[in-house]
Amino acid sequence: MNGKLRNRLIATPYTIWMIGFIVIPLIFVVYYAFTNDSNAFTVENVISFFNPIHLKSFIQAFKLALISTIICIILAYPIALIFRNSKTKKSSFVVYVFILPMWMNGLLRIYAWLTLIEKRGVINLILTSLGLPSINIVNTEIAIILGMVYDFLPFMILPLYNSLMKIKDETLNGARDLGANELQVFTKVIFPLSIPGMVSGITMVFIPALTTVAISYMLGGGLFLLIGNVIEQEFLTTANWHLGSGLSFVLIIFIFIVMGITNNFTDKDEEVNII
């Protein structure tokens, strides 16, 4: 058996799987997006993404995801810097600390936040016992942002940390020897070199936040329909697969445009080293 044939044989299971469960499902989405109940061609489902109601849930999701992503960058950067500079031999410690919570069911962790932020929740209990005014954020946009930041922060910390770890001490010392002060070392050396990590962090936070179903449902008390919730309803509640597929189609196109743009900034041969 020659090598080429053998290689094709080894690839076969995945080739079949890939076509059957990645490519064909997407073709079905496109098919449903561009047809109606009587299987006739229509662009109505796709265009209805831009209906005021649907557009509103997309814009709201976009806004919340954007705010959450920015907060994640602000919170994660110092953490990544501290861990880089601390030079602990146990760099895996960082990874464990932030991966560990992921092993506890994500929906349960989000649900636990309800207990904390409710009107009579733990945080208000502490605030009132200190004589401070209580907060009322449950079922608001703030609660959803909180949930997004909480759920996706590790996905910003880890790639940032990885990109900072790649900067050699010699590089920083070189900049200092050439007369750069600490601020300049940061703005001219560290920050530019951390951009690839930051950009992969942005995509790993922004896209899941934009398309979340569970966080808005649990912390928004059902008052907020983000684009993910709308698509879920079209499939599971109203069973309008054509409309649901039309909305998903536009969303997928949007995601791939975002990916196409950010791809220019990330390391080409970055390994997946979350664990």
Binding site: F28, V29, L100, N105
Partner: protein, 264 residues
């Protein structure tokens, strides 16, 4: 000095933010009342009840079974694929990697609905898919797990160079001997981390399971989602606390073992 205090305060605050919900859950699992607001005393009853609640036990079984089965199958298919992809001509390789990236980059909700549509339409032709079931969830999880395995193994294939494989062949090994005795040990770390990633992703998935599950098939995630409106059964807190402690112990042991290996 001040800098150090600032650093430590900041780290502590972020760790607090990360672990507070988990502490809350562990705390509530010992709460005598079902309320998530009032703590009425210490009790172990949710721990006793969790293994007698049929919904929870079956959700737990499904969650673990799907995580393990999907990760094992994804490791087999994904490792074979990674070996093949590393030997492909550039153009073909780009196509394979492009498609492999789709489930990782795409929104989970889109992956979920696309698989749901696929299963239901296939069900009209192939009896196996005639209704959504445990198996459709398993197939969905394998589908989103394979890319993680491929992308963990592929970089190791660059290291396990053709030269070593070729050397083994020149020394008289059959191609399968050369693979299992030379290449496989070299790419093992990639396979292990791919497996761990796959298990993590599978355990944590909600939305893809939500769309592809059959009636009555629940994982812990979908069970939680279904119970949110009327309040969670505190046995779920108990169950999660137990799982968390088990994972913590496993991680501490593996960390300890790998540190000791590095030491030697």
């Amino acid at each position: 000095m001040i800098r150090k205090i600032l650093k430590n305060t900041y780290l502590s605050l972020i760790l607090l933010f990360t672990y507070v919900p988990i502490l809350v859950m562990v705390f509530l699992s010992f709460n005598a009342s079902k309320s998530r607001v009032n703590f009425t005393g210490f009790s172990l009853k949710w721990y006793q009840q969790m293994l007698s609640d049929r919904n929870i036990v079956s959700a737990l079984q499904n969650t673990i079974l799907i995580a393990l089965l999907s990760s094992i199958i994804a490791v087999i298919i994904g490792t074979m694929a990674a070996v093949a992809i590393s030997n492909m001509p550039k153009k073909k390789r780009t196509i394979y990697l492009g498609i492999t990236n789709i489930p990782m980059l795409n929104a989970d909700v889109a992956t979920g609905i696309s698989l749901m549509l696929c299963f239901i339409i296939l069900g009209k032709v192939i009896p196996f898919f005639s209704s959504l079931s445990f198996w459709t969830v398993l197939i969905a999880h394998i589908t989103f797990n394979i890319p993680y395995v491929i992308l963990s193994v592929l970089p190791k294939m660059k290291g396990a160079s053709r030269l070593e494989y070729q050397a083994a062949r020149d020394l008289g090994a059959t191609s399968s001997q050369a693979f299992f005795k030379v290449v496989l040990p070299e790419i093992m770390p990639g396979i292990v981390s791919g497996f761990m990633l796959a298990v993590t992703m599978s355990l944590d998935d909600f939305i893809i399971t939500h769309f592809t599950r059959g009636a009555g098939i629940n994982t812990i995630s979908t069970l939680v989602y279904a119970q949110v409106k009327r309040g969670l059964n505190p046995s779920l807190y108990a169950l999660s606390s137990v799982m968390f402690v088990i994972v913590l112990i496993i991680l501490l042991i593996t960390n300890f073992v790998s540190n000791r290996n590095e030491g030697n």
